[in-house]
Structures are given as C-alpha cells and as structure tokens.
Amino acid sequence: MSRTIEFRDALREAMSGEMREDPRIFLIGEEVAQYDGAYKVSRGMLEEFGPRRIIDTPISETGFAGLGIGAAMMGLRPIVEFMSWSFSLVAADQILNNAPKMLYMSGGQFRVPIVFRGNDGAGGQLGSTHSWCVESLYANVPGLKMVIPSDPYDAKGLLTAAIRDPDPVFCLESERMLSMTGEVPEESYELPIGQAVIRREGADCTIVSFGRPVHFCMEAAEELAKEGIDCEVIDGRSIKPLDIDTVTASVRKTNCCVVVDQSWSFASVGSEVAAEVHRYCFDDLDNHVHRVHSDDVPAPYAHNLEAEMLPNARKICEAVRSVTYNA
C-alpha cells in the first residue's frame, strides 16, 4: 500500500524501518535526537528508539564520523548525519581516508558498513560555505559508493539499500527537496545501488542527470517537446558505481547526449559521464556531449546571482538545441 508523503518522511521511513529489523543500526549527528533533526528528517525517532540509538553530538564532524567508522569496524551499522555535506569538509580525512580504505588496508579484515547522509547542494542563498555539491569532490575516491535520490520513492529505496550495503555509502539529499511529496509504499524496499532509471523515453537526445537537477531536465524535456525535440531523460540515481550502460544504450538510440551536473564543471561527475559516453559511443554520436553545470564560481548569496549560477531548464534547453542542431 502506498501513499503520498514528503521526501523527509521517506528518508525517515527507510531509517526507522531498518532500525526495527536490525538492532545494530543507530543514527548519530548534530540535533538528530531532541531537536528532531535540523530539517526534521528524524522527527519522532528519539521517542521510538531512545537516546542509545538516536544520538545527539557536539559540533565535531571529525569526531562523530570517526566514531561511526570505529563502530562499523566492530560490526555495528551506523547512520551518520551531516546537517549539511558542506560541513563534511572538516571530516574529510575520516570519510575519505578511513571509511573507504579500511577494508583494503586491513587486507579484507575490517568492513565499514556505514552510511553518511545529509543535505547536498544549494539550499537557497546560503552562500559559498554552505552550498557545496560534494559529489564531484568525493566520487573520485575508490571504496565508497554514492547515491543521490531525486524523489521520495527513490529516497526510501536508495537509503534502505545504503543501510543494508556492506560498504560505506554516501547518501546525498537536498534541502530544497525535503518537502517534495510523492507516492511511497509503506512496506520497505530496496533500489539497487548502481542502477539508473529512465524518467522519460525519447528518440532525439539523451539527457543524463543526478539528484535535484533531474526535475529541471524534465521541465526542459516538456519545453523541447513543443519544439519537436523528443528527449530521453535518465536519472542516474547512483553516482558511484555509475550505471554507464543505461546511458550508452540510450545514446546509441538518440545519437546525442547532454549531461546535467549541479556541481562545478572541472574534474566533475559531468566530465566523467562525457568522457565515458564519448568512449563507448564515439561512432554513434552526432555531436560532442554537451554539459550543463553550476558556474565555476563560489556560490554567491544574492538571489539573482545564485539563480544565474545554478543549472536550470533554460540552460538545459539551450544545450539540447545546440547538441541536436545539425543532427
């Protein structure tokens, strides 16, 4: 039985559902317990699971990320919430050096089944320190997996999969989507990590995106349909591992590709997708892969500047028109 709930509720259902099944799972982070979460994602979890499993922390990201890693090495299954991924930089050594490498460094002796989750991307005029898109920064590192849900259904399914996964998984959420509603089954379910989904079928151009910008791609596709350009929109769902096969299969059909990545352009998820599509579809492509990113500048505060910096339907339409121009 499925009903309409918010993105934040879907995240909570994934956590609570798994916690009921598995006593090894706990949630730790700033304000997750008594405050119900800075963004109310963990509302009510303290009452249900108590202070031993829903744990408020000091403002010590290195401390509690590392604590989670140690607990995971002992076989527990921590969910570590970063109020924002923007605050994970102070814990970079723990999340990039320890979590994803412990299994390797120990010759396979110590698994780190941990989930790091929190808000990623522009939250709305939060300025340069608070608007990080960490996907391109962190996805470079082997040993970690990365998922980035774009709606409530995916939020529950991907976070559930992340919690059950034996490896470290980074779950990138978006403050701007937490109140978005959608159909979500009551029972628990998993969406396989590393599998993309086709959001809209189309014959003329493949648009690949991840997380919140997927919605801008859908807008753009509607707009472009009016112009007779029929777009296929792919939601990657996972960034690492990347489901390149779904993308290349689509590009072999459309012969055109635009990748939309909310992070900065240089050495990004977008450049990875572009490079790989060219590799696998070199002879199928009518044009080089076009990319839409945030401008290569720190996030500004001013409303008009931030709006101009971020990817949007207008920019996506322009890119698709350009890539399909002489196709």
Binding site: E30, E31, Q34, Y35, A38, D56, T57, P58, I59, S60, T62, G63, S86, F87, L89, V90, G124, Q125, L126, G127, S128, T129, H130, S265, F266, H290, R291, V292, H293, D295, D296, V297, P298, P300, Y301, A302, H303, N304, L305, E308, M309, K315, E318, A319, S322
Partner: protein, 374 residues
C-alpha cells in the same frame, strides 16, 4: 580508585580568576551614551532584518544577536581602530559595533550591490576591510585558525618587517559550541606556541543551536580549563552588563598589547531569540527565557545611565526614536540599492576576472576591458 569527584571537583576553577583585573575605570558619560546608542542600533537593525526576512527581502539563514549586544560593543570598545576583529556567522553586532554603516549592512542582507560584500556574502559573511573586520564565517570554528593568522600578521608586520614592537591585539570571537571543533584546539595550541597576541572570546550563550552546553561540551566545571590545557591565560567576564564587560576586557587587552601572548575569555551571555529565525526553541522553557530577558543588556545600561543621572527617561526615548528613523532609512536605502549585475558572478573568483563558464567553453581569465585576456 579514580572517581570523577576526586579527580576533578565539578565546581573546580583554575586559579586564573583572581589576577584578572588591572582596575580600569569606566569612560566618561558621552562614551557610555554612545554604547547605549550602539547597542540599541544593533537591536533595531536586527528587528528590522527579521521583518525583512519574513517579507522575503533577505534570504538564506538569519542568526540574530539579540541579548548579546553588550559583548560586541563592550569588547570592541576596548580596542584601537587598527586592531583586527573576526567572528562567526552571528556577526551583525560585531560588524556594526566595529563601525559598519547600517544601510550597507542592510543592503548585504538584501543581496544588493551596495552591501559590504556586494551582496555575495550575506548575513553569515559580513566583511568590512576599512574597519578591520575580517568576517563573518559560516563554518563553526573555522575562523579560529584564521584569527591566529591575523595576530601572526600584526606581529610579523610590526616586528619582522618594520622592526618595531608589536602594536595590535586581535579579537577572535567564537560560540561555545565551537569549542568542540578541532580547529579551535589546533589554533589555541599554535597561538600559545608562537606567542600570538590574539584573544579568543567564547560567547557563551549556553546553547549550540538546540543543544544546551551541558549536553555537548564536557569540562571540569569551568570552561577556563579549555585554555589551561594550553597554558593560556583565561578569565570569565559578564557579558550582560557592559559596565562589567568593558573594564575587564580593557584590562586584558592592555595586558596583551603590552605582553603579546594569547588569552581566552569565557563571556557569559544569553541568546534571546532562536538559533536562527526558523528555530521553534522547544529545547528550553519559557520561564528560562523570561528570566534572562529580564536581564537585557540594553535596559541594564539604560537604567545605569538614568540612575547615575547621565540620561533622563526622555533622552532614552528620543534616542530610540532617532535610531528607529535611521534604521528605517537604512531599509529604504537598501531596498533601493540594485541587485548585483549578473557579470558580478565572474568577478572576485580570482583577482582577475574569471569566466563565464558557458557550457561550451571552459572559463578563462578575462580582461576587465571585457575582451579575453591576452
């Protein structure tokens, strides 16, 4: 066997206290009146800022300083104009007390080109070079090593480059919650090892967001132990009564200027409003709030000035009116200031203009004369 009590009596306080003060007198009445004006101006600025925020004139996060005004005004009054100041994201009070024009601050909140950071910084990132205000920093604790660097530079300029003796003292403000960021501890140890003239002022408003200090910050009864861990001088100061705040800070600043080294201040205060405008404040009782609001630093000084005959009730009223007018004008001025030109996106990324990133070519350095750089 070991027990908490025997080891660290929970009431224990390092012997620092006693020796804190060279007796510094209060300044003359005109200065005290100015302090009252400064505090009222900060309060009024933020009351209007909150309204503007509700009306969507300002965006992002808005953290207001209501209740802590005596800290910024009292501490900064102890400085010389050229002393560097740096703080966290709850920064309007510090910037204004340091001399920022309210209308320029308001324009920043509105994301306008006339703002102190051209609208690029916002509430959390107030910077004001002419007044030696080094921000406005959004990441908890991240300003504390930077603060050590400001002090390092003052000393280096004076002693190494100009071979005279150190002349400046740096104030680095942080919240009580920031004591739990590793950055602070690395900065404190470095400052002590290098003997830097920086004073770390912990604005102890007893909460980090929704978390009461007892729930997140362990210490043996007194926060001063955090400084003793580095052999750093440390004192406690009352931050709700500026007639106590100023003399204690002034004595400390004088001492540090004369004998350059770091120091630590645990300054007691209270955050009247929520952590940010969106905070429902379920984590504390209404009684607690009322109790503390009864100890308003602005009323405290006003009462002091009236009881000591410096001001009449009417003078205070008039002052309030003037300030209300000034801030209303600031709001109007800020509203009329234009948003930044979109081209501003590509300025200040680097010293030379950078970009734009067009999606069909990499960003490049551009000549200000709008063509690409040779």
């Amino acid at each position: 066997m070991l027990t908490d009590q025997t080891t660290v009596p929970s009431s224990s306080r390092p012997s620092t206290q006693a020796h804190a003060n060279e007796k510094v007198p209060l300044p003359g009445p005109e200065v005290l009146v100015k302090w009252l004006r400064d505090m009222k101006l900060i309060r009024e600025f933020e009351v209007r800022a909150m309204q503007a925020y509700q009306n969507k004139l300002a965006g992002g996060f808005l953290h207001v300083y209501n209740g802590q005004e005596a800290v910024a005004v009292g501490c900064l009054a102890a400085l010389e104009p050229h002393d560097p100041v740096i703080t966290a994201y709850r920064d309007h009070g510090h910037a204004l007390a340091r001399g920022l024009d309210p209308k320029v601050g308001m324009a920043e909140l509105f994301g306008r080109i006339d703002g102190c950071a051209k609208g690029k910084g916002g509430s959390m990132h107030f910077f004001d070079a002419p007044n030696h205000m080094y921000g406005g920093h959004g990441i908890v604790g991240a300003q504390t090593p930077v603060g050590a660097g400001l002090a390092f530079a003052t000393m280096y300029e004076d002693e190494v480059i100009n071979s005279k003796s150190n002349s400046r003292v740096t104030l680095c403000f942080l919240g009580d919650g920031a004591l739990n960021q590793g950055a602070f501890h690395e900065a404190a140890n470095l400052a002590q090892v290098l003997g830097l003239p920086v004073i770390y002022i912990v604005e102890n408003n007893r909460y980090a967001m929704g978390t009461a200090i007892e729930r997140c910050t362990s210490s043996a009864g007194s926060l001063l132990h955090k400084a003793v861990a580095y052999g750093m001088d440390a004192i406690e100061i009352d931050g709700m009564d500026i007639t106590k705040t100023y003399p204690a800070m002034k004595a400390l600043v004088n001492d540090i200027r004369a004998n350059p080294r770091p120091a630590f201040v645990d300054i007691d205060c209270y955050r009247f409003k929520g952590h940010s405008v969106s905070d429902p404040r379920k984590y504390r009782t209404h009684e607690e709030e009322q109790e503390n609001e009864a100890n308003d630093p602005i009323d405290n000084l006003a009462k002091f000035l009236m009881s000591s005959g410096v001001m009449e009730e009417n003078d205070v009223k008039t002052m309030s009116k003037e300030i209300r007018t000034e801030i209303r004008a600031a709001v109007k001025w800020a509203e009329e200031s234009p948003p930044p030109d979109l081209d501003e996106l590509y300025h200040d990324v680097y010293v030379d203009k950078w970009g734009p990133y067009t999606g069909t070519s990499l960003p490049k350095f551009m000549d200000e004369s709008s063509g690409e750089k040779a």
